[in-house]
């Protein structure tokens, strides 16, 4: 047998391994996804029952309900993705490895993104049915993807920071909500306009702000994650 060699691990391989590990652990443990789906469905159904929406306000209020559901689901997912690593000091296994710290960030970001998308695959069709809104419009799907990513970009950074704190479940939303406000507000506004069937000229300001926020948060994560993890 050829002797085993340790080479500098490639970033994409590390990200892929982290994603595979998180997905496999979740599929077998079923600790997170089931809870997220139940929570998200409950939110959508309760709001639908409570609000009894008129057609004229359905798009604007419906967009709000959709984003409340996504934001809370993403917050729960972020807390869990990092808490699972901390429970058995598994994060130390990652920190011991000679990998770029950014690979850990992107692995965790993609895990969180994947979990929220899996929840959305179940919840968004139910939402479309209950609220009678054209959720499947390509532009709305783009807003959903960009908004979710925009929320998770600073969320992953802050979840890594909060994971070391005792009251991390409380600390994460307290830190994240103010920071992510531009993403949340622009995502809600863009969804409102798209669901109401507005012209691009009315959608563009919120949509562009959403894209800009994503780029800024990505740049901040690239600049800060190393220092944050090794501090």
């Amino acid at each position: 047998m050829r002797a085993a060699m340790a080479r500098k691990p490639r970033m994409l391989r590390v990200i892929g391994a982290l994603l595979w590990k998180d997905l496999l652990s979740e599929l077998r443990g079923r600790a997170l996804l089931a809870a997220l789906v139940v929570f998200a469905l409950l939110t959508v159904v309760v709001f639908n029952y409570a609000l009894d929406l008129e057609r004229t306000v359905r798009a604007s209020v419906g967009a709000g309900v959709l984003w409340v559901t996504i934001v809370f689901t993403a917050t729960l997912a972020l807390n869990r993705v990092f808490a699972a690593e901390r429970e058995h000091a598994l994060h130390e296994g990652l920190l011991l490895a000679p990998v770029e710290r950014l690979a850990i960030y992107f692995g965790k970001l993609l895990s969180g993104f994947l979990f929220v998308l899996l929840v959305a695959v179940v919840v968004v069709p139910v939402f479309a049915l209950l609220y009678d809104l054209p959720v499947a419009r390509p532009l709305n799907l783009a807003v959903l993807l960009l908004g979710t990513l925009g929320y998770l970009l600073p969320g992953t950074l802050l979840a890594a920071l909060a994971a070391h704190a005792r009251a991390r479940e409380v600390l994460l939303p307290v830190l994240l909500f103010p920071v992510a406000m531009p993403v949340i507000l622009s995502a809600v506004r863009a969804s409102q306009e798209v669901l109401a069937g507005s012209a691009w000229v009315r959608i563009a300001p919120a949509f562009n702000l959403l894209v800009a926020s994503d780029i800024i948060f990505l740049a901040l994560a690239v600049l800060l994650f190393d220092q944050l993890v090794d501090a």
């Binding site: 085993a4 340790a6 391989r13 058995h88 598994l90 011991l96 000679p98």
Partner: protein, 232 residues
């Protein structure tokens, strides 16, 4: 292979390490003794890059912690108080995951060879959640040596093991040192540490106060080491 000079560290204003000097040659097995709070775990975590020294120099496998921590991580294997194994993954999947992090090639063959070496080939496809403490510890050793590190750091690896599992672990550690790795073992099991090591060191309140060849250390010296640390 391990070269530590003048390392200092303190937590909340309380000094934990006070000018520690420590050298371990290639292929040498060193046991580190000391009472609770002597600074053993802090020192080991520092060598494994999980903590940074406030002062002093740490060089492992020729790499300086302050200059190139990434390269240093590649030459260190660490077994701490936690196994760092994912309970929902199988023994093989755990090793395969860590092989990806360390860039081990060919990963599959290396993982299988290690499972054979630690006596877990039959449990290859079983989830770690269902492993006994001894099996988990053997797999943790396999994880730590997966990338053929030049330095192996072990923090009380025998804790929680029954006699048979502890003896299996001893054989494994002997083989690792014989293969040329520098091994630094922290343990409260003085008899076992002396039996395994070439040299023993004693740490007391953040200082190295004892250094002897394993065969030359006396019971009185060890008793004094532990009595001193416990404030007697």
């Amino acid at each position: 292979m391990i070269d530590v000079r003048g390392v200092e560290q303190s937590y909340a204003g309380k000094p934990v390490l006070r000018g520690v000097d420590l050298q371990v040659a290639a292929g040498e097995f060193v046991a580190l003794f000391g009472a609770n709070g002597a600074g053993k775990t802090t020192l080991l975590r520092m060598l494994a890059t999980l903590a940074r020294p406030a002062r002093g120099r740490v060089v492992l496998g020729g790499f300086d912690l302050a200059v190139d921590p990434q390269a240093l991580r590649a030459v260190v294997g660490f077994v701490g108080h936690h196994t760092m194994l994912y309970p929902e993954l199988t023994a093989f999947e755990n090793l395969q995951f860590y092989a990806s992090l360390y860039g081990v090639e060919p990963a599959r063959a290396r993982c299988d060879a290690l499972l054979e070496q630690v006596g877990l080939q039959r449990q290859r496809a079983e989830r770690v959640r269902y492993f006994s403490r001894g099996m988990q510890q053997r797999l943790a050793i396999a994880r730590a040596i997966l990338h053929s590190p030049r330095v192996l750091l072990l923090d009380e690896p025998h804790s929680g093991l029954d006699q048979i599992a502890a003896a299996q672990l001893d054989a494994l550690l002997h083989a690792e040192a014989a293969s040329g790795r520098s091994v630094l073992l922290v343990t409260h099991d003085v008899q076992r540490g002396i039996a395994l090591a070439d040299r023993v060191l004693g740490l007391d309140r953040g200082r190295v106060v004892l250094e002897r060849a394993a065969g030359a250390v006396s019971a009185t010296e060890l008793a004094e080491l532990y009595a001193g640390g416990n404030g007697a």
